[in-house]
């Protein structure tokens, strides 16, 4: 006890400085999460407050384990994230390499590249709902005007087209984060190793593969880590574009949680699902953070 007191006293200043941060996180994140952890073991329904005390043990978890719709949404979410993050990374890398090569007007290009970052996810969703609309959407209008298609493509209705559309929106929204961070990596890159490799007879591709790319890896992982912190932003996009519909065809974990909680009013079950989604997010973040640490170690120089 006295040791505890001494620790507090010796570190009074830093403890005092971080305490507001801890306090606000405690109230807004930790307490609610503890509460939702509890409700995930109850039969809590929003419309019947007394059900909060209706302890049902692991039943919610058992239910979602056996719930086909849940697993489809889960699988779709993982697929969605994998596809989106990888493509964002590839496009971002390509874009960064292109912009890095440009000498004239590079600054302007860089600024233009950040354009999508200014859009809130909800706007991105709305924007593509508008563009992919089957009667007045720019895309369908253009395709028909150019004579490529005669019928409107049901971008937001057909199962695969809808998945394509939400992934497209997500990738549009986030590619520039990758591009910007990778570009920062390219700027920070020392010239000597590249020149040495060229002297050693490496082709352009070999230089990229063995010198540039390893150097960029930490930057790519930072981008991945930052992105995985807010993958759930995709909820906003999908909520506007399709609302998870039609008929659950674009349901992601997050839209399913919202529906279960508010439309079906099954708070308990929704909270159980929410825990699965939290674990998924933490997993992604943790995975990329580890990768970042490894990449950093490899590059000892940093």
């Amino acid at each position: 006890m006295s040791r505890f007191r001494r620790t507090i006293r010796e570190n009074a200043v830093p403890f005092a400085l971080i305490s507001p941060a801890i306090l606000v996180i405690l109230i807004v994140v930790l307490l609610p999460l503890l509460f939702s952890f509890y409700t995930s073991f109850s039969n809590y329904k929003l419309i019947r407050p007394d059900t909060l005390w209706d302890w049902i043990g692991l039943r919610n978890y058992e239910r979602i384990m056996g719930d086909w719709d849940f697993w489809v949404a889960f699988g779709r979410t993982v697929l969605f994230l994998t596809v989106a993050l990888n493509l964002e990374m590839l496009f971002g890398l390509g874009l960064a390499l292109l912009v890095n090569k440009i000498t004239y007007g590079q600054r302007t290009m860089r600024t233009i590249m950040m354009f999508p970052m200014m859009f809130s996810p909800i706007l991105v969703g709305f924007q593509f709902k508008y563009l992919f609309n089957d009667t007045i959407g720019l895309v369908n209008n253009a395709l028909q005007a150019l004579g490529i298609t005669h019928e409107a493509i049901p971008f937001l209705v057909d199962r695969w087209w809808a998945f394509f559309s939400i992934a497209f929106a997500e990738i549009w929204m986030s590619t520039s984060i990758f591009a910007i961070l990778i570009l920062a990596g390219l700027f920070a890159m020392p010239k000597d190793p590249v020149e040495a490799a060229k002297v050693d007879g490496c082709s352009n591709w070999q230089v990229f593969r063995h010198i540039t790319l390893p150097f960029l890896m930490p930057f790519i992982y930072i981008a991945m880590t930052i992105r995985s912190l807010d993958v759930a932003r995709a909820y906003d996009v999908v909520d506007v574009m399709t609302g998870g519909g039609p008929a659950g065809r674009t349901e992601l974990l997050w839209t399913l949680i919202a529906r279960t909680a508010y439309d079906d009013a099954r708070m308990g079950r929704a909270n159980a699902m929410a825990y699965v989604s939290i674990l998924l997010s933490i997993f992604f973040t943790w995975y990329f953070f580890r990768k970042l640490m490894d990449a950093r170690k490899h590059l000892g120089a940093f």
Binding site: A21, V24, V29, F35
Partner: protein, 281 residues
């Protein structure tokens, strides 16, 4: 291929790609200045015949086709909520970031990690318990309730950024100032704060943008014109039978403009903060 031709080709390629990237956004902005009739016409009219500000007048309640969406209230709410939560998040994040940058204390590493991990909780997952608790506490559908939440979700990132910026200010400047007669407090405000100022400003702008653009939490925690923010308000247009595309586009522009300006302001610092914080551990 001569390198000059190659350069020009690369430039043109990049320019085309940029154009394609900007296209969707530009189309929305253009649509905001067109009439609903023109937007809905089939076959499509590509080159607008008239550009008008009517849509903006309409969403703010002036002109003939007044829309039933109280955009002015939403705008005010958004400003109040974003500005207040940004101020709080920067203050709390800055003190925290300073502690992490300047002091050693037991449990430092794990505290930092847990603070950061709190940021990974998906908004929608967090909204469920907060919705219930805030309801019981009677702060649901209030600006205060949203401000509290936004402050918390912005704190981890603000800490991360400011910690990086404070770490770039050498410790001995603070000590030199103390020897020159400052208290620790004065040393902070006279030396360290001015040097980290631009970084802190960009952390603030970043927090502002996060709040300004947030939807998942706000959509559950706000109900009425008392607290609804612009992103939530955008959904009002879709709730009606026929979607008022022109009005929606106009509102989109209202949401984008502040974000546009602020992003331009911080871009340099933001990149520096993110990469240095992450790479130089």
């Amino acid at each position: 291929m001569p390198s000059r031709t190659k350069d020009i080709l690369i430039w043109i390629t990049t320019f085309m790609i940029m154009l394609i990237i900007c296209m969707p956004g530009l189309w929305i902005i253009l649509s905001a200045f067109r009439t609903n009739g023109e937007i809905l016409t089939k076959p499509a009219i590509w080159i607008p015949e008239t550009l008008t500000l009517d849509n903006f007048r309409a969403i703010f309640g002036y002109g003939e086709n007044v829309v039933g969406v109280p955009v002015a209230s939403y705008f005010r709410n958004s400003i109040i909520i974003s500005a207040t939560s940004t101020f709080l998040a920067v203050f709390i994040g800055m003190t925290g970031g300073y502690a992490f940058a300047r002091y050693r204390f037991p449990g430092k590493g794990s505290t930092f990690l847990w603070l950061m991990l709190s940021r990974t909780v998906p908004g929608i997952a967090l909204s469920l318990p907060i919705f219930i608790i805030w309801s019981r506490m009677g702060i649901i559908d209030t600006k205060f309730g949203v401000i509290l939440v936004y402050t918390a979700i912005n704190v981890p990132f603000t800490i991360w950024l400011t910690e990086g910026f404070f770490r770039q200010v050498p410790q001995d400047l603070n000590e030199a100032a103390q020897i020159d007669g400052c208290t620790r407090w004065e040393a902070f405000w006279k030396i360290e704060f001015p040097l980290a100022k631009s970084g802190i400003a960009s952390a603030g702008i970043f927090a502002f943008l996060t709040s300004w653009n947030e939807y998942a939490l706000a959509s559950q925690l706000t109900r009425s014109t008392d607290s609804k923010t612009l992103p939530v308000g955008l959904m009002d247009f879709t709730a009606q039978f026929t979607i008022d595309w022109a009005g929606m586009c106009a509102m989109a522009v209202i949401i984008i403009i502040p974000a546009l300006i602020l992003t331009f302001l911080v871009q340099k610092h933001l990149i520096a903060g993110l990469t240095f914080g992450g790479v130089k551990g």
